[in-house]
Symmetry: C2
Subunit: 719 residues, 2 copies
């Protein structure tokens, strides 16, 4: 076995006490790599069997002996107390109220006048330092000269006492071992120690081929409450990356100092749904550079010892930003991340500047799925099919699983199905890697973040469902497997003329968010730029509250382009007559199921000449509008379904005036996608459903014939 | 018959060719007054029969011979053209596009540089007068030096060519007579003429006892589109009251001049849903004073000739503002208005400073209802019952009907039911006029308008249903018949300490509107004032988006008081655990039907200690919260139903900590209201439904017994 061969391979978890069976399965599955998991280690016999060995490595935790020697070098958070109203002239705030004392403690060993902040949350003013006193004894802050019935809060630097991921696993699994103390790579002693420690660890682990960094220095924001339950989670959050040295270095470099409020952000903590402030953007860039530079030292060490460096996409990944400017400088060989659907496939497979990417597929071999009566095979198939859609557009280099192999082994049909998938993947990879499929359209997703949040929009915690966002996440899930080329661009890019290369631009999200654009739409230049682009033939798609910013008598700044606007109550006096929907529009020709908008959107109305495609009462849910040579499409929300994927695909063609290209490499049934690979002269007909399907297939000339597909079948066809 | 006796009476419409039957009906219905209608006149025989005679009188129209002599004294509107994007350096806008050329024409005979305005609706700037030219020939404006793909609009003064009400009736009924030219009482010749004309008219109509002014000078905003259909309607709109003399007088008095944009308001035209600007507030006051002063001259003339002056609440009523400061100075004897439900009853019956008020009840005796297969009696009963609820709290002085009596006469059961209602009304009036019923609670409705829009909130066109507002109008409909005392107060009143006299304060409406408060909540003093009042024991009720103004990390400024806030996407990272509803709360004890919120409200979530009463998914629809000694109640929307009326009534008691008073003068069935009149020692048990009901009745000591009520029955009971 060639340990260097990575593309098309599969990584399998191992465990002690299950060696022979593991070796059999590795063979059966044609595996080329093994890994350990949280709480497992790789048996020696397997390490020696010629498989590539991945070992999990923690950089900033998992060494309490060292950590205890540098209590002042813990990582830190900026957090904010409850808002409390003053019912008298003085007010005492219990600043740890609602926080988990095992996770964080207020940092008193710093200049409180600089790193703590008391704010009047009624008038927004900062309370003078002379008007408050912090009491270390009971973690309270006493505020004097309060304004009656104003609310006050205390923002403070807090020392992290427990690595957030370990805390989560520990509490979830009722562990009793030592709690991992996190240490901060930016601090003097830690900064030296982590390189030395890795050096030693590499020597002590000669069998490790791939160091699986899990991950680097700063955990995404994950705070628990006083009941030991999750209080706050932001998979993109930088709150846990702060420290006095960082803030001092920042000020030195940028010439201005960051306030606690720059992080606390009135309690929003710079959630990715917020239009990023200048301070936060600066801080992100600052942190990314530090992380890149420091991680490089570790990666260099790994290479020096002849091993590969792989990064886990998650946990302490803050500041790495795989779609950012400094990621490539880290010099990683690989990235591994978990795959829940098409979006997470593309988040990995679209990553530029990386040797190879691996997806950890579902289900985890854990007892929650692998128990009597469980249906792991069903979940396996479902996960594979939804991920495969995206893989056919842009494949991952490797697949893998995690958990206890011995558990999975108890389900023979599961083992069979993994085998089937594994070889299907190998086949796919061999055919299409490097042979990009044909695309009819170039599609840009526009928001405040642009490229850095490619495939990362509308996400709170990694892949978790939220009521407020699934109606938008569906857009990305739909795009992930669609035969179109997708880019993520920022409003700044748009101002720079970036739209010119695209057929379609999508702006989607709730009003005020970074995804819709919020106050960034308060920019005449941006408004005119997009309007001009559509007028000259561009296709604009708005979902939810696109271009929403109330001004100049409009709520949707581009309401003239979109042909719809939202009624906030101010235009009720104006009669709306456009209440009839057009039946059987091009965009809805394949829709056989009731239309679904997820949470939808109320009070959107159509302007006079707009074509309404769906309406309920006075709420327009779908509409199209001609604007100059261009077109726009509006939809109230787009939760993922194959039908909605098709609606979006058709809408893209419609707004781009490319309807005639639709039925090339196409099937009528919405569950079937066709990808055509010109370099190999073959196309893939992909049934993502568990139905047997007979449908019309259209080739590159639009010639149709019936095809029959088994449930989940992937059929290859010469062009 | 004593022509002076008005209270408890009924006014009946008359028509020629139906004299004997009319006289019989007048007797049967115990009528004391007759009236003419649009297109009918009172037969001489009836005029001489001793009934009080009402005659409709138009002040500012209906005299084209005069009108034609003063073409420059037409009334005017400020209107705004379409927004049009500039695709080149010059742009020509068809300013009459979308307007009805038979109704208005651009006013060129004025200083265009002052009374017209070209605005860049993308950057908000005013286009210099030197950059545009108006072309009278084709009603276009050419704009030069345009910014590419900015939108432009032309605001212009427009001359009214047709009285809006006559236009509406004319088009609706396919009339062919002369179109009434409107003339402006503020202009020199008209100002003199209208008094002389009235003088003459009075002499020519010696039989008229009551001059029914329909109405005075300025019509509410009602504009038609180029297809002759309604384009814009605002029953409160002042857009049609402007003129060069008015604007000149305004500037002289106030020391600043009003721009067209002060009226156009980006196309919102100062809808009552807008938080009023200072300019508009000043202009309203200015206009109210003019209208009051000028109407007084007419009323004085009426009195001089020994007649009564009655005002119709509607049509050309702008500037009268019955709840405003200058209304009483007009010196009117009476007001008449149409009654659709409890809200319109109270809008009339709560009017201060007026001799008597009369309600015109439904249905109109018109062919749309009175045709074969029509159900006028059903409508009659329904209208009476819903109005009666409010009458029992505060009665109208008179009732009346309109239309063709001969049509109604064809429905004998209708005639019977009017007779029954008429005597029920007479009985009610005799018992309760001046004897206010007992109230457990004083309730304030807080919004940007306060007293001047008493019972006039959430209204677009008079009593018409709008999808966006019925979920709020229900609050007023519920309050109108509730045994509580209701006041309407402004935020300014709140700042002045007005809440101190109240048990309950209600703030309701969509975010940003004058009813919720919008930017007025961006005021620390207001926030603190309400918070303090609740903390000290006040009861706060928020419906929809109360106190909504995004700042300081909250959307509902009083989210701490309400116990709920709305998720805009920025706090998705914060876990929400309060998702379980409490069953059978005090507030919901009488609710037997599914809860209804109308359009409802999405994304409202409960804070940690809030008690959730109803939730769907993650959307909290109803909740209560303790705040200091006070309490708050939140509801997502309150369309009218007897159940929602009861929920609100119970909520008022709950938040006021007066639960123990609830079951005094009370019935368990939600369709039954009890009003107790201490001065006569009797209570009324009112069944507003068409069901026979047996329910528990509770007296003033809370002692209960079963009562049985026939459908719609009003039962009197000694206390």
């Amino acid at each position: 076995m060639n340990k260097k061969a990575v593309g098309g391979g599969i990584t399998v978890p191992t465990e002690t006490g299950f060696v022979d069976e593991t070796l059999q399965l590795l063979k059966r599955w044609d595996a080329d790599a093994v890994r350990d998991c949280d709480g497992t280690s790789i048996p020696e016999e397997i390490k020696k069997s010629g498989y590539k060995v991945y070992s999990t490595y923690f950089v900033a935790r998992g060494d309490n002996d060292f950590a205890k020697t540098v209590p002042e070098e813990r990582t830190h958070f900026f957090v904010c107390s409850d808002y409390v109203a003053a019912t008298g002239k003085t007010l005492k705030i219990d600043i740890m109220s609602g926080y988990f004392a095992q996770q964080i403690q207020p940092e008193y060993d710093c200049d409180l006048s600089r790193y703590w902040e008391v704010i009047d949350r009624t008038d927004g003013s900062i309370v003078p330092v002379s008007d408050w006193t912090a009491n270390k004894k009971d973690n309270t802050v006493e505020i004097r000269n309060c304004k009656l019935f104003h609310q006050y809060s205390v923002s403070f630097l807090a020392r992290a006492l427990w690595d957030s991921t370990q805390m989560y696993n520990y509490i979830t699994n009722n562990w009793t071992k030592d709690k991992d103390l996190p240490f901060d790579a930016r601090c003097e002693k830690t900064s030296e120690y982590i390189v030395k420690r890795l050096d030693k660890w590499l020597d002590e682990h000669p069998d490790t081929d791939v160091v699986r960094f899990t991950t680097f220095f700063y955990h995404f924001s994950l705070l628990f409450n006083d009941k030991g339950k999750e209080k706050f989670v932001d998979w993109f959050g930088y709150s846990g990356s702060v420290s006095v040295p960082a803030l001092e270095a920042f000020e030195k470099e940028y010439g201005y100092s960051l306030r606690p409020e720059d992080f606390v952000d009135a309690g929003y903590y710079n959630s990715p749904f917020r239009v990023p402030s200048k301070a936060f953007s600066d801080y992100m860039d600052f942190t990314m550079r530090f992380v890149s530079k420091t991680a490089k030292k570790l990666v260099d060490k790994v290479h020096e010892k002849g091993r590969e460096a792989m990064m886990f996409l998650g946990d302490n990944w803050i500041g790495t930003e795989p779609y950012g400017k400094y990621f490539k400088d880290i010099g990683l060989d690989a990235v591994v991340g978990s795959v829940g659907g098409g979006v997470t496939v593309r988040m990995l497979s679209d990553m530029p500047d990386i040797g190879y990417v691996e997806g950890r597929f579902l289900p985890y071999f854990f007892p929650d799925t692998f128990h009597e009566g469980g249906e792991p095979t069903k979940e396996l198939k479902k996960n594979w099919r939804i991920a495969r859609r995206a893989m056919m557009k842009k494949p991952l280099d490797r697949i893998g699983y995690g958990g206890y192999l011995s558990l999975a082994a108890k389900f023979p049909d599961f083992i069979d199905e993994v085998e089937r998938i594994r070889f299907e993947f190998k086949d796919i990879y061999a055919k299409i890697k490097g042979n990009d499929p044909h695309s009819n359209l170039k599609v840009a997703v526009i928001n405040a973040w642009g490229k850095i949040r490619s495939w990362q929009c509308f996400m709170v915690a990694h892949e978790l469902w939220y009521q407020k966002v699934y109606s938008y996440q569906g857009i990305l899930e739909a795009l992930s497997g669609m035969p179109v080329d997708v880019s993520f661009i920022s409003f700044e890019d748009v101002l720079g003329g970036a739209l010119d290369g695209f057929d379609v631009a999508i702006n989607a999200g709730d009003a005020g968010t970074a995804f819709s654009g919020g106050k960034l739409w308060d920019n005449p230049e941006l408004e005119a730029k997009v309007r001009e682009w559509v007028y000259n033939g561009g296709g604009f798609i708005g979902i939810g509250e696109p271009s929403a910013f109330l001004k100049n008598g409009k709520y949707f700044v581009l309401s003239d382009v979109l042909g719809v606007d939202k009624e906030l109550g101010f235009t009720l006096s104006t009669d709306k007559y456009n209440l009839q929907k057009e039946e059987k529009h091009f965009i809805l020709k394949d829709a056989t199921q009731p239309l679904e908008y997820g949470e939808g959107m109320k009070s959107v109305y159509a302007k006079e000449n707009t074509t309404v495609l769906d309406i309920s009462g006075q709420d327009v849910f779908m509409a199209v509008n001609d604007y100059g040579k261009g077109r726009a499409f509006y939809m109230a929300g787009l939760p993922y379904s194959v039908q909605n994927e098709r609606i979006l695909y058709r809408a893209c063609h419609y707004v781009a005036h490319k309807e005639e290209l639709l039925k090339r490499w196409y099937c009528d049934d919405t569950a079937v996608t066709v990808q055509y690979y010109p370099q190999i002269g073959e196309c893939a007909i992909i049934n993502s459903s568990d139905r047997e399907i007979t449908t019309n297939f259209y080739d590159g000339q639009g010639k149709s014939e019936k095809v029959k597909l088994l449930p989940g079948e992937l059929k290859w066809r010469k062009a």
